[in-house]
Amino acid sequence: MDESGLIRDATYGDLDAFNRLVLAYQDMVYNQAYRVMGDVEAAEDATQEAFISAFRNMRSYRGGSFKGWLLRIVTNACYDELRRRQRRPAVPIEPLTSDDEEIESPSWIADTGELPEESVLRNELGTAIQNCLDELPDEFRAMVVLVDVQGLNYQEAAEVIGKPVGTVKSRLSRARVRMRDCLQQVWELLPPAYRLVDERLE
């Protein structure tokens, strides 16, 4: 069955039809949640919450991009969770020294297994990018993920966040500039293709 048929059936409460949509979109929704939340467990929770909320609110879907509608729901679920965390900040799990002092960068979390060089590089780069994303304000982070990770155009992104295109332009540009500043320290980790751009500039 085509997507519009599944959406129509789901609107009338057909859970099987909705679950087929879930299977089609779960990677996209999970990616958005992971990039905005920055950790696996919170991303899973936000993804599940978003799909349950989507099913319960299928009747409020008024056509248009179903992908955009789902992204809006998961982004809002992430905002809610982030706001909750700001109100009740969690105590970070940090290992303690023998003097009961926290170790700032716990080496025990790092994967010490031997990995091929490219894989290590990719992991480190991915971690660096995610760290820089995490440092962005929530609205900037959601914007850069919507456009540069999910590949939405400005109009679609504006519909997802419910703001004008001008806001998308402004937030995206500021988010990219901040990402550039943050990533300055890890340019040497870039794959050769990206380094060439750097060398050409120099």
């Binding site: 859970l15 909705f18 679950n19 879930v22 299977l23 779960q26 990677d27 929704v29 999970y30 990616n31 992971y34 696996v40 899973e44 993804t47 599940q48 799909f51 349950i52 099913f55 319960r56 990719r122 991915g126 990018i129 850069v144 456009v147 540069d148 990770v149 590949g151 155009n153 400005y154 332009k169 402004s170 995206l172 540009s173 500021r174 990219r176 500039v177 990402m179 550039r180 990533l183 870039l190 990206y194 751009v197 750097d198 500039l201």
Partner: protein, 255 residues
């Protein structure tokens, strides 16, 4: 010489990368880029960030996020579970208030539908006027005058006639309580009877008649009675509907 890039220029550079500038804006920016190495470097850096983000591998969902019927039901029952006790509480409160209202009505013993304190006052005042007149005339009370005497007895309790033993006897003979409150028509009739007895009473009784047939006081008392009944019915409806709602929600959430 280092050139500082302002916010507007950053925004233009970023939008240019996504092809979001108009043809004219893009042409102007391209010209600037050719002239300014700093602006060009900034453009390349933004492009690098953009490409880097877009090159990130898409993560696979670590598990399926399909929803079970139970999971969807659990979500709904959370809300209903919260609402059910609320409805129950409202229902219980409405029931208690209804019982208190009914008990109060029973204890006071005044049926709010019965008319009416105003008419009773009229009758009492008429009787106060009647009793001395009868004493003066020295007549035995006739059977026609019984309602007047009855209320006269009641009135005597409120307004004892000084030094009059006969009026005391009459008061004793009179029934303790009237079987029913006299209607305004009866009050009017009583007024007419006493009117025949003397001119002194006539003026006052005319006033009493006016008071008895005055449309304001009976309508006030009717409003009072209606309000009483409406409150009871309203409480009954609230108690029943909230009770039913609590029951339905509880069943839904336990499903």
């Amino acid at each position: 010489m280092n050139r500082r890039i302002n916010d507007r220029e950053w925004q233009e550079l970023s939008a240019h990368l996504d092809g979001q500038l108009s043809i004219n804006q893009a042409a102007r920016l391209d010209k600037k880029l050719q002239e300014s190495p700093e602006l060009r470097a900034a453009y390349e850096e933004l492009n690098r960030v953009r490409l880097l983000l877009r090159s990130q591998p898409r993560l696979r969902a670590p598990r399926n996020f399909t929803i079970s019927a139970q999971a969807a039901g659990v979500q709904s029952s959370r809300r209903t579970r919260r609402l059910s006790p609320l409805f129950g509480l409202v229902s219980a409160l409405a029931s208690v208030m209804l019982v208190l209202l009914l008990a109060g009505e029973f204890l006071i013993g005044s049926s709010p539908t019965a008319p009416v304190p105003a008419a009773m006052e009229v009758q009492q005042e008429a009787a106060v006027m009647e009793a001395p007149l009868q004493l003066e005339a020295g007549e035995e009370p006739s059977s026609k005058e019984i309602p007047v005497q009855a209320t006269a007895g009641a009135a005597q309790r409120s307004y004892p006639a000084p030094g009059s033993s006969e009026s005391g006897v009459m008061a004793e003979q009179a029934p303790e309580e009237p079987a029913a409150y006299p209607s305004p028509a009866q009050a009017s009739q009583a007024g007419q009877e006493s009117e025949a007895l003397g001119m002194a009473a006539e003026v006052d009784l005319t006033a009493v008649e006016e008071q008895a047939v005055s449309p304001e006081q009976p309508s006030d008392s009717m409003q009072y009675a209606n309000g009483w009944r409406i409150a009871q019915v309203l409480l009954l409806v609230i108690a029943l509907s909230c009770g039913l709602a609590a029951l339905v929600l509880r069943r839904k959430s336990s499903r």
